[in-house]
Symmetry: C2
Subunit: 171 residues, 2 copies
């Protein structure tokens, strides 16, 4: 199981970035996102995407991060620009175990650095937790997202120009 | 040369996501970001990161997208969930030419789909233009970002726990 724990979400300020974090989690192979702040609106929006585009992605908001962490049966990774080099880190993570990936926003309390089995950086430059999560999941799953089928009501067909959509909703 | 053209930026609503797009562009190997909307604040923030963390990344805001596109000497790629499969698309793009990567926000006018040499999707699921740009640059540059050195005043040293920072600023 792959779960993402989004900490420090501020309802108004972070709604778009947290939505991106959650959608990236879903698209790149995670099973669940936990968002520490209670936010029914973001949950509703995310579940609406899941319903239309398929898959079994779970969304929980208003969770107590320490409770999730303490009861976690598996590896805990924290994504941060201060962490271990991505490629080196991946070699140290057993892909057979459950993994909880902590994704912060601007200021992350030291507790999360300490409690993580490994802090992982996707490059040591400032960029984006959204990109960091996508790259981490890409490397951790060896690019499996590229072949994942979601069996949704809406299916996008790749094309060089324009839009091709198969939709069961309009039938 | 690798340039990113961020279209449809709304100053208040998109400031965080556009900042992520620009920082990802810088961290993953682009030379320039063009942001169509004039936004001095975002430019100032981005240039402050560039100054501290190094590199020669350029930021321009308030550009006319059609002008950039018409005068572009190289390939034009548009990232969209409706586009061609990433791996297939990469094979069609000559890495020796300049590349302009168009990154939209919510609604992208048909013009950009049409004017692009190729529309490229990073998975055909809804997720994030930030993640799409990171993955595209990762594949296009064959992961070169992992070895890029920025020679900044601030340098982060990878570590499994805690933070290690070399700073010329505090000297």
């Amino acid at each position: 199981m792959i779960a993402v724990l989004r900490i420090g979400h501020r309802i108004d300020r972070d709604k778009r970035v947290t939505t991106h974090v959650a959608l990236v989690a879903r698209a790149f192979g995670a099973d669940t996102v936990f968002i520490t702040t209670k936010d029914d609106k973001i949950k509703k929006n995310l579940l609406s995407v899941c319903k239309r585009f398929g898959g079994n992605f779970q969304v929980e908001t208003g969770v107590e991060p320490k409770k999730i962490i303490k009861s976690w049966d598996g590896i805990i990774v924290h994504l941060t620009m201060y962490g271990e080099n991505l490629e080196k880190a991946i070699q140290q993570i057993d892909p057979g175990r459950n993994i909880l990936i902590i994704v912060g926003s601007e200021k992350v309390p030291p507790y999360f650095y300490e409690v993580a089995d490994i802090n992982v950086s996707v490059g040591n430059q400032p960029h984006s937790e959204v990109a960091a999560l996508a790259l981490f999941l890409d490397r951790f799953t060896k690019g499996k997202w590229g072949k994942k089928v979601f069996h949704g009501n809406i299916e996008i067909i790749p094309c060089v120009k324009g839009k091709k959509v198969r939709s069961k909703e309009s039938v």
